[in-house]
Symmetry: C2
Subunit: 73 residues, 2 copies
């Protein structure tokens, strides 16, 4: 299952600010300005979940609860 | 410098068949059917050069000589 974030939903979630910054750094590294979705590497899941305050199950649950996962594990 | 291959030029180079197969596997993993160029990860350079029969300088020189590098190290 690919890790795909809904960038518009993400922008609207204030507590997700650390995730927004991580995502922004990837957007800039790529020059990927579609602005709607961002697919991340499976390898990024761990880092992303740490930013959501926990291990992978906790982080994925948090992303889902925030409504920012288009698709994911 | 990004590693960008010219897929049309690559198709025309018979001795590049191992490289064509490596590239095809990535095209299929992505579902990336633009058919013109393929950017690869920096991490892939080593594997690609081994397929070209040598270390990185040799492999890069070979890709250049074949005219398949749009951009590269
Ligand atoms: N469709 C697709 N294309 C791929 C994939 N992996 C690499 N590429 C292509 O290969 C280029 C170079 O990748 P890199 O050397 O890993 O260099 C990358 C990498 O270091 C970093 N980066 C970009 N996206 C991500 C990401 O989602 N996660 C992480 N951890 N790093 C990323 O930014 C650099 C530049 O990224 P790009 O400008 O996008 O440029 C990328 C992209 O055109 C892939 O799994 N799928
Ligand atoms: N995961 C993912 N990332 C996407 C997608 N579309 C665009 N991007 C990201 O956004 C950057 C700019 O894309 P672009 O303006 O369409 O313009 C692109 C595209 O026109 C072309 N290009 C270069 N490499 C590739 C490749 O491997 N596949 C494709 N289809 N186009 C490529 O050159 C430009 C620069 O490409 P990149 O260096 O790869 O940098 C790309 C890539 O990092 C997508 O559907 N999925
Ligand atoms: N060695 C190598 N493997 C490749 C390359 N392109 C694709 N793959 C493999 O194929 C999987 C699916 O790629 P995708 O459909 O482009 O789906 C990718 C793509 O949408 C995005 N992505 C990852 N890295 C980059 C990147 O550097 N640049 C861009 N633009 N997108 C990326 O995240 C999705 C998931 O990435 P992964 O979990 O890593 O999963 C990737 C990776 O395991 C490549 O150039 N080199
Ligand atoms: N800009 C952007 N769009 C995204 C991203 N994740 C998903 N999408 C959208 O969802 C489709 C699948 O993206 P993908 O899994 O990255 O799978 C992509 C990707 O692996 C590759 N690709 C397309 N354009 C580029 C590009 O400019 N550069 C690179 N490196 N890969 C590309 O071809 C596959 C199919 O692309 P499409 O048919 O155009 O359709 C793409 C695109 O419309 C993202 O992180 N950034």
């Amino acid at each position: 299952r690919k890790l795909v974030l809904d960038l518009e939903a993400l922008r609207a979630v204030d507590p997700a600010e650390p995730v927004q910054r991580f995502v922004q750094s990837i957007i800039e590294a790529r020059g990927d300005f579609n602005g709607k979705v961002l697919s991340l590497r499976n390898d990024d899941l761990k880092a992303l979940c740490v930013l959501c305050g926990g291990d992978i199950p906790t982080g994925v649950a948090q992303l889902r609860a925030w409504g920012v996962l288009v698709d994911g594990p």
